[in-house]
Subunit: 695 residues, 2 copies
């Protein structure tokens, strides 16, 4: 494997020389890969992929690789519908020769060699990797490269030298607030594999549920989960499933806060009097473990010991976020303890708790990972900080000698567009000024899927496709950051992810059908037209603006639950407006498309309203529909103003912009996404950008 | 249960008095039920279905009913997204009180009481049934009645007295030609339950595969299945799964023909010399069991005995169809045997074989069912004939004292529109003239999904939604036969079936995405526009017109594999043309819609052609796309001819109709469905139907 190692040494040079020509030269087709590889050199022609396609394993083998090979062939067969033999060939003349050098660690570690080299020529293909981890990634790259062509399915001739930028590329799923069944978890792990993520962070306990079976303390899951929990056997199977895909599983048991569900069966752990019930609301709540109670540490010692034996990963997440301290303040015994131990405030008390828990975790052979809050003075240097508060805290930790990963900017539940997540770089902001040694401590990042407003039905559509953009941020070179290229490839990878059973694209139609009930094709098309251009409110406003206080029992059947968090149609309309304005409003094709789109929006409401009268769930968006109609009218009036060939009067501008301001306000917790683009059009016209003489 | 029995006596009267007013009065909403019930009396208002919805079982209970109840609640929760408690209530104040009188037979029998009465008022609902079979059907009716309303989810107040017209309402799935995995079988059984079918006929052996594990003769599945078979445990589980849904499972082992796969491991059963290989082509093949060989009967005795213990149903299907006799003719020993036993022809030889096999089946406690061919002189009267050849043979059998079921007219693989299947009635044709006693012998029918051109991916879209129309034919009163009402409800039930996991609607988009590869939204929309109005060739022409001889290894990734067998858009366009002509071409709204549709078709090809240049699978339909464009142009010229207000000249008509004739020819094995409607338009214009003065 000396050759691979050597190539990696030249990784950065290869990148500059090869990748950018390949990606930017118009004559060369862009590789449809996400994440983009560290380096790629396109060849000439392509390798036919037909029913005789075969693979062979050479070099190091293990049972996991056999399964990897069969899964690869099954997946290739699914995406092409070619009937392929699912058994590896014994012949060195197989279409794809896979050469793995040596085993990876029995328990996957941070920073193992995940690199691979993939050579595809018109005659055959060769995949070389140091370890099965690289093999797994390389096969996913191959799958993405296989496309329909004029002559059949084919993969382009190319040489790819690839390795990840960061060793920790994770997705956190909160399966505590809403329980997420294992089949849904599994298909999301398949999605992670497809985009080369390598850590599944499993948020298993919360105020709203305790989701892991404990044999030592069965009251935890029996009383804290509404019978919705994972058995230990299921957890072990899931870990094996993830390992087969090159993915570590890091469990999180959040403490001392976010822990009401523990106290339903074990009120003696809490700082308050109890009794406790499973929390049904969302938010930050008072219950917290009692840091002054030795029984708590005895309990946690046994519990962490039990879980440490089930979860083989070297890291153990203890949460640590958002303790409001109210139960501590209200408990005289705890106040006395603070004084006796010179703990000046609750932060210090939590630090004391974290320190004790950290020792227990270490005792059981694991390293602690925790949210920002666990980083307080005196915490040992081997813990890992997961920054949800911001890049500054991550950089600060690195400066102090702590390793960390970034999650701030990667919260999928906040409803940001993919491009916004994509622009967040673990090495930017305060981290940009770190020394090389300090930078080494930034291990990567994790996207987070908090589950107040996701359930098994719509979770795929909240994670995908946006998570693929974050995966690219964490794998690909820092210089790969063009949002247009990202969106083009995201659309492609999103379609590919459907072959894994992910329902992110189909679920919207299913949910819209539920809320429409019986509708004519025209009515349903009108509902889709509206749904295509509205997005749920962003950040943490969903709870604040809810029609009724949301709980875990609130039905998730509203339009806000159904539509994607990012509107493709809205983005494309914005691009069209930009293109039109850039032409000084002279591009007749763009104008025609704008006019057709705006007219369709204007007329959509008349078709949709009868359906709104029949369904309470459609009625909720009747005002949004009227807004879309108004937006169409406003946009058309802007196009008419251009047609007049004179600068638009100020009064017109004022009037139109006032209308737009109204349309920009969310209704039914939904934003009308094209409104700012129409505003841009009006401003361009009023500002004279459309008054240039025609060319 | 005396009350139920009494109501059933008045079934026919109730039907006439109640059903038709309910279904035809415009003021009353049509019940969205498929199959329509025997009788329904609408009430006033509706029953709210919200998160507090509950059920209680009274009267007879059994573990199956507990599972039925939980499944019902789970399904109701899925289709509404209401979080419901999945446990039945103990309170008599539950929203839906379910009263079952007594057990059904341990092994479900033909003709058991499947009736139920469902009363829904604004305050509560009550379901009464003699047996769990009626309970199962009644709950499916309730699920179909729950709809979104202006005030929430609700079921309309109604009283339904329901029972099936025929006791045998089946779906046959051929899982031999293409193996169909159990999860796909299960979701189709869920679909059968939803439309009240009660027989799953499992076609388990064919020339192309032997799909049931035999422990007595393991070479059958080991050598005859490419390792694609159902284990005995899996079969038992599937039978239990079906029983929970009120569905019998009738196994079919086709013999003496259609049996090549048996002979791979057991050539000694065949009439030829062998050796034999699993057949990969489609068609009728020579291999057949040797009816003159006593070892064959000894083998079948043991084999049927083994299968009879696994499949509890009272009926055992022995196939019997399509023996071409060539192996018999070529075997001197068989010729000698025929002479010695005075068997004049191969039909007589097959009758001898059937008679022997029938005795074996009887010995193992089962009744024979077989295809038409098993009905020959002297066959005992207790066998059941499954008529695939036509209604005449069914009527003939009934006259001779044999019971029978109709499958002719219900072959789903022939690609007929739902309305054509729907018009086929087991009691029409020759059967209409039977005596009442003879009619009793017609037990019902079965739709058949032969699997030359279906695989696990597209089978749902070949069975559904059309199978629901056949299910209605077999359940609902004979007078229920309005295709317009059927199509309206079919669209509704088709959407509902998606909640069961059936992929009949989503698979088309997935498959189109595969064959499109990377495409712009506009290109993909253009592909969908084309796909929406083309249908695969019908009847048995698919093989004859194939670009290459099809085999079981032929990839099923073409447009002909992807598009539904019936085009909704094509049907709707036809209705619009009819409406326009009926208005003497004066309906301006219809004209505007026609014009828009025709213009879109005309312009579609220009958008699609670039994609056709990139994908060999899209390229295959490039000519269809050009045809659609031509059709749009022709249709628009017809509308222009009307606008001129003068009778169109004969030369125009001749020219246009000649064009249409070209467009009606299938290309790439696909018909352009709206072509005959445009032809109708031209003929109406040329014939003066559009020349009436405007009103």
């Amino acid at each position: 494997m000396a050759q691979i190692a050597r190539l990696h040494c030249f990784g950065i040079i290869v990148l500059c020389v090869l990748l950018y020509p390949a990606m930017t030269t118009a004559q060369q087709p862009t590789l449809n890969l996400m994440p983009l590889p560290a380096a790629a050199q396109p060849g000439t022609g392509s390798l036919a992929v037909n029913s005789s396609f075969s693979i062979v394993f050479t070099g190091y083998t293990e049972p996991r690789l056999d399964r990897v090979g069969e899964r690869f062939l099954r997946q290739l067969s699914r995406q092409t519908a070619l009937p392929l033999s699912l058994k590896p060939s014994k012949s060195s003349k197989a279409t794809l020769v896979i050469e793995t050098d040596h085993a990876s660690k029995e328990i996957q570690e941070v920073g193992e060699d995940e690199s691979y080299i993939l050579d595809i020529s018109t005659a055959s293909a060769r995949l070389r990797a140091s370890t099965p981890l690289g093999t797994i990634h390389g096969l996913q790259t191959f799958l993405q490269l296989v496309e329909v062509s004029p002559d059949g399915f084919a993969a382009p001739a190319v040489t790819i030298q690839d390795k990840p930028r960061f060793p920790w590329r994770g997705l956190m799923i909160d399966s505590a607030r809403h329980f997420i069944p294992l089949d849904v978890i599994r298909r999301n792990i398949d999605g992670m594999e497809a985009v080369k993520m390598n850590v599944f962070h499993w948020h298993l306990s919360e105020n709203q549920g305790f989701r892991a079976e404990s044999k030592k303390f069965p009251k935890l899951h029996e009383q804290g989960s509404d019978s919705l929990y994972y058995t230990q056997d299921e957890i072990r199977e899931l870990i094996a499933y993830a390992r087969d895909r090159g993915i570590r599983v890091v469990p999180e048991f959040d403490m001392p806060g976010h822990s009401t569900a523990w106290f339903v069966g074990h009120p003696e752990l809490a700082s308050g009097k109890g009794p406790y019930e499973i929390e049904r609301r969302w938010g930050i709540f008072d219950p917290a473990m009692d840091p002054t109670n030795e029984r708590v540490y005895k309990f946690l010692d046994e519990f962490i010991g039990e879980m440490a034996r089930i979860f083989p990963d070297h890291y153990f997440h203890i949460g640590g976020d958002e303790v409001n301290g109210k139960e501590w303040d209200a408990n005289p015994k705890i106040q006395t303890f603070k004084k006796a131990h010179d703990l000046k405030n609750n932060e210090a008390l939590q630090a004391y708790f974290s320190g004790r828990v950290q020792k227990l975790v270490t005792k059981h052979g694991k390293t602690v990972i925790g949210w920002d809050e666990v980083l307080v003075e005196g915490v040992p240097k081997d813990i890992v900080i997961q920054s949800w508060r911001g890049q500054a805290s991550l950089a600060k930790a690195a400066k102090q000698g702590y390793r960390g990963i970034l999650s701030n900017g990667y919260y999928l539940d906040l409803g940001w567009p993919a491009a916004r997540h994509y622009a967040v770089d673990p090495m930017s902001g305060d981290a940009a000024d770190l020394s090389a040694e300090e930078k080494q401590r930034i291990l990567g990042g994790e996207s987070c899927m908090w589950a107040e407003y996701v359930n098994p039905e719509n979770i795929d559509s909240r994670i995908w496709p946006r998570n693929a953009a974050i995966a690219e941020r964490l794998w690909s070179p820092q210089e790969v950051r063009d949002p247009a290229s990202m969106y083009a490839r995201l659309d492609f990878v999103s379609a590919r992810l459907e072959w894994l059973g992910l329902a992110h694209r189909t679920v919207t139609r299913h949910m819209l059908q539920r809320l429409a009930g019986q509708s004519s094709p025209a009515e349903f098309a009108a509902l889709r037209t509206l749904a295509d251009v509205i997005e749920p409110v962003k950040d943490y406003t969903r709870e604040r603006t809810a029609p009724a206080p949301p709980t875990s029992a609130t039905p998730m059947n509203r339009v806000v639950d159904a539509v994607p968090l990012e509107s493709d149609a809205g983005r494309r309309f914005g691009e069209l407006v930009d293109q039109f304005i850039a032409s000084a409003c002279h591009d007749p094709a763009a104008e025609a498309r704008l006019r057709a789109q705006l007219a369709a929006w204007r007329d959509n409401d008349a078709i949709l309203q009868p359906l709104a009268q029949r369904s309470f769930l459609v009625k909720e968006v009747a005002a949004n529909s009227q807004d879309l109609s108004t937006l169409g009218t406003v946009g058309l009036s802007a196009l008419e103003a251009i047609a007049k060939g004179q600068p638009a009067p100020d009064s017109w501008k004022t009037q139109q912009l006032a209308l737009i301001e109204q349309l920009k306000k969310p209704k039914a917790q939904l934003f009308l996404i094209p409104a700012p683009s129409v505003q841009k059009l009006i401003e361009a016209i009023a500002g004279g950008a459309c008054s240039n003489p025609k060319p």
